[in-house]
């Protein structure tokens, strides 16, 4: 932040800024030197900020009308949908917003995986990101319980029962989580409280995430360190602001399509049946964004090991900066890694698919193979690739790639730079 000293022009501004340097901060954010070759995959950071704020604002509104009581929750949601002014709109934005949030976060994570954004010196950004992702899953799960439909109730029962896998204290923990001997009113009220709390924790972590980002600056599609500010960078405002805005609008069109035309397609029909502790729905399926982990859980025949496998699948990501031994960040210059990357993408999609299918026969076998491969990718492929792979020559800067003959340069977004030489 101390690359350039900023002095406000007006006297009042200077007086204020000497006491609380908000203007310095604003100046830092607008002038923040950003690599000029960022592609549209980099716009998802801004989109995610939009998602978080949308969820918080619509959530606050819903909390004004929602009643966290086992006897009234379902009815209060119907009240929101029918009687509250624009209630149906706000609830559909909130419900579909969760899905859009996860869609964006997955793209954001896979962008990072492709371009090696988790590597030194950006490990802390990455780890904060993983914590945010974990909290998002918690918030999404807790939120799904609130309408108190059949999927809410049985999802809550199944997920909280995961803790019973812990030896000795497991059962005690589950009873403690429930505040009773089954998922009931005490569970609902505490879930509501936590669902309300978590987004603000996420907001705080997002500030840290961005702060940590602004120390080394953005990674970029060719993954090289660049001088800042330089010919390789543009100021955040207006260049990146307008570009992020454009991408955000495209995203909002998709979002609006879901909200207005297929608002229930991403949810499960059973959640429009009020919770009934005596009847379990025929198929219990989590929301689509949790399906890959659900598949991993079910692919392990042992209860405790299944839970451990599922948790490790997420936590292993935190160790990624050290599991990936390659010095080259961007997959653009790593021909082998690039192939393994797409195999991983396919693997996760397959896991998601079998997660939605019954855990039997061929599906179970596929789930097991895919789970094994998932761990293999992180624990074996990545460490070995770093030593074995023959990477391509990397340019020295974005604008002036001092390098001839690399065919891959054409795919790097600096065609103009080449043209001008």
């Amino acid at each position: 932040m101390s690359e350039h000293e900023y002095t406000p022009k007006s006297k009042v501004g200077k007086w204020f800024n000497d006491r609380l340097p908000l203007l310095t901060l604003a100046n830092h954010l607008t002038d923040y030197p950003t690599p000029k070759n960022l592609n549209y995959w980099w716009t998802f950071g801004g989109i995610l900020t939009f998602c978080l704020i949308t969820q918080i604002v619509t959530g606050l509104v819903l909390a004004m009308h929602y009643i966290a009581h086992a006897d009234m929750a379902f009815e209060s949601v119907e009240h929101i949908m029918r009687d509250v002014n624009y209630g149906w709109l706000i609830r559909y934005i909130h419900a579909n917003g969760a899905s859009m949030f996860f869609l964006a976060v997955y793209i954001h994570i896979f962008r990072s995986l492709f371009y090696g954004s988790y590597k030194s010196p950006r490990e802390i950004i990455w780890i904060i990101g993983i914590i945010i992702y974990l909290l998002m899953m918690a918030a999404a799960f807790l939120g799904y319980v609130l309408p108190w439909g059949q999927m809410s109730f049985w999802g809550a029962t199944v997920i909280t029962n995961l803790f019973s896998a812990i030896p000795l204290v497991g059962e005690g923990i589950v009873t403690w989580l429930w505040g009773g001997y089954s998922v009931d009113n005490p569970t609902l009220t505490r879930f509501f409280t936590l669902h309300y709390l978590i987004p603000f924790l996420i907001l705080g972590l997002v500030v840290l995430h961005i702060w940590a980002l602004h120390v080394p600056g953005n990674n970029n599609p060719i993954g090289i360190d660049i001088k800042k500010p330089s010919k390789d960078t543009v100021p955040f405002h207006p260049y990146i602001v307008i570009k992020d805005g454009f991408a955000l609008l495209m995203f909002m069109i998709v979002f609006a399509f879901f909200v207005f035309y297929t608002p229930n397609i991403l949810g499960h029909a059973d959640n429009y049946i009020e919770a009934n502790p005596l009847v379990t729905p025929a198929h219990i399926v989590p929301e689509w964004y949790l399906l890959p982990f659900y598949a991993i859980l079910r692919s392990v025949p042992d209860k405790l090991l299944g839970v451990i496998a599922m948790l490790s699948a997420i936590l292993i990501l935190a160790a990624l900066p050290w599991l990936d031994t390659s010095k080259i960040r961007s997959a653009v210059f790593r021909p082998l890694y690039k192939q393994f990357y797409w195999i991983l993408v396919a693997d996760v999609l397959i896991l998601g698919y079998v997660g939605a299918m019954p855990a039997e026969g061929l599906y179970l076998l596929i789930a097991r193979v895919a789970t094994a491969y998932y761990f293999l990718h992180f624990l074996v492929v990545l460490p070995v690739l770093g030593f074995k792979e023959r990477t391509m020559p990397v340019p020295l800067s974005i604008t002036e790639p001092i390098l001839g003959g690399s065919p891959n340069l054409a795919t790097v977004k600096n065609k103009d730079g080449l043209k001008n030489q």
């Binding site: 260049y239 454009f246 035309y261 608002p263 399926v285 999609l349 998601g352």
Partner: protein
């Protein structure tokens, strides 16, 4: 721009993938034209009014409609009965109110602000009267069934004699669209069961369609507003996107990098 195509491809992939994963049971439902489907879909007023009649004369003796009020019958985008008609409908039901000054509950004619009167006092009473099966509340029934309106429409016409080898207990009926084919509701519709005031021929098919339309409205009373608003919102977003796109091109033209 190439990347944008890739992003949209990804989105579409996820969408298709999700629809596939949700379609666990694959039964061919009976097909019919629904006026409320599609981005400009609207309810057929006459069908909603007829559908209310079928619900009232046939379904409501067992199935509650507990999230709906009589005032909703007047509401825009619904059956749009006149206020006088809806008041008359409400007044034809006895509503429990109270306690009065003596601390007693009393019955009075329904008002517009009242919720639909329930056929049974509570769920247990409903089960006791129906051989242990609870006739589900119908307000959001369409959204609570995977097949939606097509499922309800088909189910009402799906009664058949059981195939050879299937034995049915007392009070259980065979329906080819029911999950597991066994249903505790007997066939309710028969040709000419109700007499439509608008002269429409009350065939089973017609009644099934009308009552299903009505149930779609009770589940999504703001569907028409949603469709209208959605169209405006998306047109607006496209206009703004185009404007922002050209603004972006202008701004980025100051430097030699393409966006």
């Amino acid at each position: 721009m190439k990347n944008l195509f890739r992003i949209s491809f990804f989105v579409i992939f996820i969408l298709i993938f999700n629809i596939n994963s949700n379609a666990a049971d694959k039964v061919e439902y009976l097909k019919t034209e629904w006026s409320f489907k599609g981005p400009f879909g609207k309810f057929d007023r006459a069908a909603l009014q007829r559908g209310y009649q079928v619900y009232n004369e046939v379904c409501s003796s067992c199935h509650s409609m507990k999230y709906l009020s009589y005032r909703n019958l007047v509401q825009r985008g619904g059956p749009e009965f006149s206020e006088a008609q809806a008041k008359a409908i409400a007044a034809s039901f006895e509503v429990k109110d109270g306690p009065n000054a003596d601390g007693e509950m009393f019955m009075r004619p329904g008002r517009l602000s009242d919720k639909f009167v329930m056929p049974y006092e509570n769920e247990k009473a409903a089960q006791a009267a129906n051989g242990g099966a609870y006739p589900p509340d119908m307000t959001v029934l369409v959204k609570a069934r995977g097949g939606g309106v097509d499922y309800i429409y088909s189910l009402l016409q799906g009664y058949e004699d059981p195939p050879a080898g299937v034995t049915l207990d007392d009070g259980v009926y065979y329906n080819k669209f029911m999950y597991g084919n066994k249903i505790k509701m007997s066939n309710q519709l028969s040709d000419g069961l109700v007499e439509y005031s608008d002269g429409t021929d009350a065939t089973v098919e017609q009644m099934a369609k009308d009552v299903t339309t009505f149930l779609m409205w009770t589940a999504e009373p703001h569907l028409e507003t949603r469709h209208r608003m959605g169209f405006k919102a998306i047109v607006y977003l496209i206009i703004l996107t185009v404007l922002v796109y050209f603004s972006m091109k202008k701004i980025w033209s100051r430097i030699e990098t393409k966006v």
